[in-house]
């Protein structure tokens, strides 16, 4: 497929991104660059100086709502991408409502409880949707530990090992790798070449 053909398909697609921190902001940027049609992004947080070691924001955006700053940055990269922003702390009913029209959902939360909440919501209320999660990306090095795996329509990207702690902070390289793996998995799904789609087609 040429890039023109890829863009032709992607511009008709909508991706939901739950959380606009390190995973969400970088994943959104990758999808905007390849020409996704619409992004639905949700986060309640403000940009802080401490976020700039990994999140796709700029020094002069400190204090802004992350969803507003992200929309600004995405527009500067690709003004054709439509961005719907939700400045809220997502609960399960919000997730079901906000992301119900999305073709794929990207989980980009920080806390494991939130990760569980969206996984539970998607499995129980939107089982037809693909969910792409990021699990384990703190620290540095260990390129070989980062992987992805899949169970039906659930895709996990990360090392599934390194949680955040004082001695194991989340930093740009590993967070960026996992965020871009998520975007890569999203592209595969939207272009119809995910293993689950191929498998179901042949049945």
């Amino acid at each position: 497929m040429t890039f023109e053909e890829v863009k032709h398909i992607l511009k008709t697609k909508t991706v939901g991104i739950a959380g606009c921190g390190g995973l969400g902001s970088n994943c959104a940027v990758a999808l905007a660059r390849v020409g996704i049609g619409r992004l639905v992004v949700a986060d309640f947080d403000l940009v802080e100086e401490g976020n700039l070691n990994r999140q796709f924001y700029f020094y002069d955006q400190i204090g802004m709502l992350k969803v507003s700053a992200l929309k600004q940055n995405l527009f500067r990269i690709n003004p054709d991408v439509r961005v719907n922003t939700f400045d809220i702390r997502l609960c399960q009913s919000d997730i079901i409502e906000i992301f119900s029209k999305c073709d794929v959902i990207v989980e980009a939360f920080d806390k494991p409880e939130m990760k569980y909440m969206i996984l539970d919501a998607v499995h129980n209320y939107m089982p037809e949707k693909f969910l792409v999660m990021g699990v384990g990306m703190a620290g540095w090095g260990g390129n070989n530990l980062i992987h992805s795996r899949q169970s039906d329509k659930l895709i996990i990207c990360g090392d599934e090992k390194n949680a955040i702690s004082e001695k194991c902070p989340p930093l740009a390289p590993r967070v960026g790798i996992v965020a871009n793996m998520q975007a890569n998995a999203v592209m595969e799904i939207l272009l119809g070449t995910n293993e689950h789609q191929i498998h179901t087609e042949h049945q």
Partner: protein
């Protein structure tokens, strides 16, 4: 029984397990666990009753912080 656990084949003496028995056998003691059996998400309240049989595909996922 022979099952697929996290994409790897594993053999157990028992012919059948509950989810809890599998977690004990594998010494999985993490707090935020997700268990899927043949693609179906198993609720925490069902861990003592949901069964794992020969040939099942089991995903055990440990949710950790970072995002």
């Amino acid at each position: 029984m022979k099952i697929i656990l996290n994409n790897k084949e594993e053999v157990f003496d028992a012919p059948q397990f509950t989810v809890n028995e599998l977690l004990q056998a594998k010494k999985f003691t993490f707090k935020m666990l997700v268990i899927k059996v043949n693609g179906q998400l198993i609720k925490k309240s069902d861990y003592s009753s949901a069964l794992i049989n020969d040939g099942d595909d089991v995903m055990v996922l440990h949710l950790i912080s970072g995002g």
